[in-house]
Symmetry: D2
Subunit: 140 residues, 4 copies
């Protein structure tokens, strides 16, 4: 519980905070976030930039993995793959991530990203993210 409250705050800092991501829901192996779409997120054609969607998919996937380790561990992304299905337009994006393979060191999360337009959700992107849990004291 306390751990989940900590992760909710920890999620929103640095680059993700600057992007405007907010936390929607946290549970064991699960993390969900949302983003109010603004002009600052756009690319050259007026759609949300693939990089915004990738950042949301990666960051939320990482925090889904964070819910499965103690505070003695940090989570780093080894690699990810992301497919884009439709251009993202509308008011809102929602990202739902869950851990699909919870290894002790190597964890794999999946992120589904939806755009919300006039209250209607559309799946616009999906990512598979490979993460590694490293002892927190090894990073400093």
């Amino acid at each position: 519980m306390e751990r989940f409250e900590f992760l909710k705050k920890d999620y929103v800092q640095g680059f993700p905070a600057n992007c405007g991501f907010e936390v929607e829901r946290v549970d064991y192996g699960i993390f969900e976030s949302r983003l109010k779409i603004c002009s600052v997120h756009q690319q050259q054609d007026g759609f949300v930039h693939a990089g915004v969607i990738a950042t949301m998919a990666d960051h939320t996937a990482g925090y889904a993995a964070f819910t499965t380790v103690s505070d003695k561990y940090r989570i780093l992304t080894i690699e990810f793959k992301i497919n884009y299905f439709k251009p993202a337009v509308g008011e809102l994006m929602v990202c739902r991530s869950k851990v699909i393979n919870n290894g002790k060191k190597i964890k794999v999360s999946e992120s589904e990203v939806f755009s919300v337009s006039h209250g209607q959700e559309k799946l616009i992107s999906k990512a598979m993210v490979t993460l590694i849990a490293v002892p927190a004291d090894s990073l400093s």
Copy 2:
């Protein structure tokens, strides 16, 4: 030539402009960019966020593909995969992208991202990006 000058400006707008990416070099099938690393790019451990690196790798890969089509076409990302080798620290990041398969519609670019610390380059990330060329008028 004129086309390359146009792409240099087109590259820097919206989300990538907000991230701070700048153009370094353009040639046929080639695009290179750089980023001065600031605190706004960081994640929870003080490294450059994976999403910044992914955005740079994707955006630069897309513009490498842009150099191979006329102004009647736009380039969209179908999907990409990115590996992270080392945490990004230092003053600067440099991204070098090139088209490795130049199909008429489907193009594949590769991006190598380097961090520069005290003038020393280190390969920190590599991505493979699948793109599609679509008629410009189909997007509006």
Copy 3:
């Protein structure tokens, strides 16, 4: 119906037939297959080779996409990404594929591969596959 019966037979030929894959179930956007694990499928450590699992994931994903097009189209793999969760051991492997983005030309399928040991299923691998539908007459 007839189309599904045709695809069931079409699935089992050439390399996939040599590997020993069999069809389990076909529906619109869905394809499922199975493999009796033999020594011929092994790698150097006695597990099923990653290439067997990748072939099964790719081939079954492709036929899931095949169910969504008429016989005037063929399906080719543009790219895929596959994660391995656990070594595959046991009597049987089962692959369940479904189309998760059914574009007119570009289709994305997902494959989940399970090993079955003493009747117990375990998720051992997952793949995301990007496919393209091309007119059948363009291939000859």
Copy 4:
């Protein structure tokens, strides 16, 4: 030297041997293989099956990583991503793999696959493979 001779033999067993892969060249961080294309490798349209190419790319990438560890370690594939550029036709396929990030535990290899037709090489596929070195005695 002795290590490289051992790996040359170790490469050709089980599923890869059944596929017909042969070793071409071994060096530190480098592995190259070839395959005489036969009808057994084909898919439904008469091209080499994507699974054959993926198996070659994965297996050769793994042995490139093998050259960087002592015989106390085994190499397992965590995940890979592969793009297909052109249908593979011709007499021969050649795969050239090299380690592009040589971490102590996590290694990343790249594989380029060429088809050879009338003596002419064509790049038909490229893969990025994430591998892990595990103590040999942990597998038994």
